[in-house]
């Protein structure tokens, strides 16, 4: 049961991911991305990581992708952008990336299938409590660093945005 | 005498000079000049008051990185003291020579000069190999700035070449130092960069030869010797006057000093086996440097190549492995410091007045500036090796020492004296004698400032030539330490 659920969610994730990178309209692509993220959240849930699944939905789908959408809307791309996308996305451009991706898939597949014993995920739940313990225990330094990273991103984003705003004001 | 204090004084004076530019643009010159004059007096005072026990004029020990056996060990023996004195004196001369030449960013300029000098003093007194390497780099980088910022038309090429040559060869030395320390550590179990500790390192012949080559290459690049000399003509030609004076007068001596202090003593056997190559390189430098000097048409370039020839004598002297050769090499180092520094000052003065170094655009300058002519004549004669002036003493002692070792190479080196006459007189002829060039504008002659610097150098050369005993007796005592039978 869980196994089939997993592959249903995984298939949706793959299909929608593929759709996300091939759409001409950025908004549509982002919606497909949200679908991918949601299916991944389902998989997380299946794997016994409900906390991760929740964060996936809340922060990824809910915050980050929405941020994308805001920017897309702000830039006001419209129909001409779609036309341009169509010109850029020529069939020939696929060839090399596809070959390389295929090659990498085959190589990794060989590497993965090489293992002898069957590794099966039991699906035992690891709840938020353990995650929290672990985060603020052995990983406390990582948390601090992540905080610094976020601060840096904050400052950087502010800097980039402020210039934009000031220049607009001058006009 | 506290060497560390002297080094700190120079470093601090550099900062003060940099800052003082804000008060008055000319103030950095005064700061630097005062510092150098004081330091010179300090050295003279130390010399007059004589060495302590063990023949050292100064000895300092401070712990630095004890974990790796790295300490600040500064010692000044006769050789070091003499070279430090030369450094400080030429520092003052260099400052005087660039008094009006440098007009932009004088503060930073003098800062660089003072820091180079601090590095040089460190190099001459460090008895810890790590500290030595540290100072070796300290003197390199300000020098790079001096060439790269205040140099002439081709400065970026020249400064980069200078930097790459010295840096790469310096890295070779670093590898050799680390290897030496490591080998000593693995046999004796003591991790130490101390010179005197490392003297006792027992090395295999082949290993010793390799390590010796590491040091040797670094030092003959700095010296420089054929075939690693090609950075020098470019660097000298492009450097500002003060830079050339320091380069020729002092920085080249660090190479010679390194050979005397480290190559010969740390690897006595390997160096002794190596003598024929060292001497042959020296002879090649003498002949090739002299020959190249003749073929140049640029005043400074000619003098630069002549430096190569003179430093060849140092190499020949050191690798004769006897007291005569060694003493000759030391005297040559000092005398070359004076004579070539003066010639570079002259080149700088000419460039300041005529805006060219090309001798085809000079000619007959004696008529316009007889003092400059006479002074140039004096130093050309000195560098040609006229008896009674310092260079002759050095070169003669070198030849005398080398003759005991190998007759053929000595004959070749002696031919270098003829070549010296050829290029020296051709320099004189093309710049100051001959038909006065009508295109040359009226130029002012040397005035008090430049003349006083020149007189100091002239007196020093005559003193060295007429009574070299002061210098000779100072190094006499340390000859056994340098692996040379007294």
């Amino acid at each position: 049961m869980g196994y089939w659920l997993f592959w249903i969610a995984g298939g949706i994730a793959i299909l929608s991911a593929f759709a996300a990178i091939t759409r001409m309209n950025a908004s549509h692509a982002l919606i497909y991305l949200v679908i991918t993220l949601l299916s991944i959240a389902v998989i997380f849930f299946l794997l016994g990581a409900p906390f991760a699944a929740a964060l996936e939905i809340v922060i990824y789908a809910g915050a980050i992708v929405v941020l994308f959408l805001f920017v897309v809307m702000m830039l006001n791309l419209g129909r001409r952008a779609v036309e341009r996308e169509r010109q850029w996305l020529l069939p020939g451009i696929w060839v090399i990336p596809a070959i390389m991706a295929g090659a990498l898939f085959i190589v990794l597949g060989i590497a993965l299938s090489g293992s002898e014993h069957e590794a099966v995920i039991e699906g035992t739940m690891v709840g938020p409590k353990e995650v929290g313990r672990s985060l603020l225990g052995p990983y406390i330094l990582g948390v601090e660093l992540a905080a610094v990273l976020l601060l840096a991103a904050l400052v950087g984003a502010f800097h980039l945005g402020r210039r934009y705003i000031e220049e607009r004001r001058e006009k | 005498m506290n060497v560390l204090l002297l080094i700190c004084l120079l470093l601090a004076a550099g900062l003060v000079a940099w800052a003082s530019e804000r008060i008055r643009p000319n103030l950095p010159n005064w700061v630097a000049l005062t510092t150098f004059v004081l330091a010179t007096l300090w050295v003279v005072f130390a010399w007059l008051s004589g060495p302590h026990e063990g023949g050292l004029y100064a000895e300092q020990f401070y712990s630095w990185i004890p974990r790796f056996g790295i300490n600040v060990i500064l010692k000044v023996d006769g050789l070091s003291l003499m070279l430090i004195g030369l450094t400080m004196l030429l520092g003052a001369v260099a400052v005087v020579s660039s008094w009006t030449e440098t007009t932009t960013r004088r503060g930073f300029f003098q800062f660089n000069i003072l820091w180079v000098m601090a590095g040089v003093v460190g190099v001459f007194s460090a008895f810890d190999l790590f500290l030595f390497f540290f100072f070796w780099e300290v003197m390199l980088i300000p020098m790079y700035f001096l060439i790269a910022i205040w140099g002439h038309e081709d400065r970026s090429y020249a400064s980069m070449k200078f930097f790459l040559f010295t840096q790469i060869s310096g890295l070779l030395m670093l590898v050799a130092i680390v290897a030496l320390v490591w080998i000593h550590y693995s046999t004796h179990g003591v991790l130490s960069f101390d010179y005197h500790t490392l003297l006792g390192a027992e090395l295999d012949d082949s290993v010793a030869r390799l390590l010796m080559l590491g040091f040797f290459v670094a030092f003959i690049t700095k010296l420089p010797s054929v075939p690693l000399h090609t950075w020098l003509p470019d660097a000298h030609t492009q450097a500002p006057t003060a830079g050339s004076v320091i380069l020729a007068g002092i920085l080249l001596k660090t190479g010679a000093y390194g050979i005397v202090r480290f190559v010969v003593t740390l690897f006595p056997e390997a160096s002794r086996d190596f003598w024929i190559y060292g001497m042959a390189l020296g002879v090649a430098s003498i002949l090739y440097g002299g020959f190249m000097a003749y073929s140049q048409s640029d005043f400074k370039r000619l003098v630069a190549y002549s430096s190569i020839a003179h430093m060849g004598f140092v190499l020949v002297g050191v690798y004769s492995f006897n007291d005569l050769g060694m003493q000759g090499a030391i005297v040559t180092m000092i005398a070359h410091g004076f004579s070539t520094a003066a010639l570079f000052m002259m080149a700088g003065a000419l460039q300041e007045r005529l805006h060219t170094r090309e001798m085809s655009k000079m000619g007959g300058l004696w008529v316009k500036a007889p003092r400059m002519g006479a002074v140039t004549m004096f130093f050309v004669i000195a560098s040609v090796g006229m008896p009674g002036l310092g260079n002759f003493i050095g070169e003669f002692l070198v030849l005398l020492g080398a003759f005991q070792k190998n007759v053929f190479l000595t004959i070749c080196a002696a031919i270098g004296i003829v070549v010296a006459a050829v290029y020296g007189l051709s320099l004189m002829q093309r710049s100051f004698q001959g038909t006065p060039n009508p295109d040359v504008p009226e130029m002012r002659d040397f005035a008090f400032r430049e003349m006083s610097a020149m007189i100091v150098l002239m007196v020093a050369l005559v003193w060295l030539g007429v009574y070299p005993q002061h210098v000779l007796s100072m190094t006499d005592a340390i000859l056994p330490m340098l692996g040379v039978a007294p």
Binding site: G2, F6, W7, G10, A13, I14, A17, A20, I21, A26, A29, L30, T36, L37, I40, I43, F44, L46, L47, G48, A49, F51, A52, L55, E56, Y60, M74, L75, L77, A81, W88, L89, I93, A101, L104, F105, L108, G109, L112, S113, A119, V120, I121, E122, G123, T124, V126, E130, V131, S134, L135, G142, A146, L149, L150, A152, A153, A157, L160, Y164 | -
Partner: protein, 105 residues
């Protein structure tokens, strides 16, 4: 969740690889910055999936901790990257990433 789920670890990893490669292909074929960033998000999710799967297999929290870090990273990246996108759009009047190819060696 109770009981044996029975998902082989390899399968989850195959899924992660597939998603990752889709992201890579996305980066390589698109010229629009927005799509490139989007592909980047995909790749990050793929790796997050691999982490979480591994954590689940060992029944430890570390996989999820890594996911948290990836999340923080993604948030930071998106914040800066979108700022850059806005600048790019303003300066070059296009979202073509190849327009901003001035930083050549």
């Amino acid at each position: 969740m109770e009981g044996p789920l029975g998902i082989p670890l390899e399968h989850v990893l195959y899924l992660a690889i597939t998603l990752f490669l889709i992201g890579v292909v996305g980066i390589l074929i698109r010229r629009n910055v927005i799509f490139i960033l989007l592909s980047l998000e995909l790749m990050m999710n793929a790796s997050a999936l691999a982490f979480v799967a591994a954590g689940a297999y060992w029944q430890e929290a570390d996989g999820q901790v890594m996911f948290m870090f990836i999340l923080a990273l993604a948030a930071a990246e998106v914040a800066v990257a979108l700022g850059l996108v806005v600048q790019l759009a303003r300066r070059f009047r296009t979202l073509d990433i190849d327009a901003a190819s001035e930083m050549t060696g």
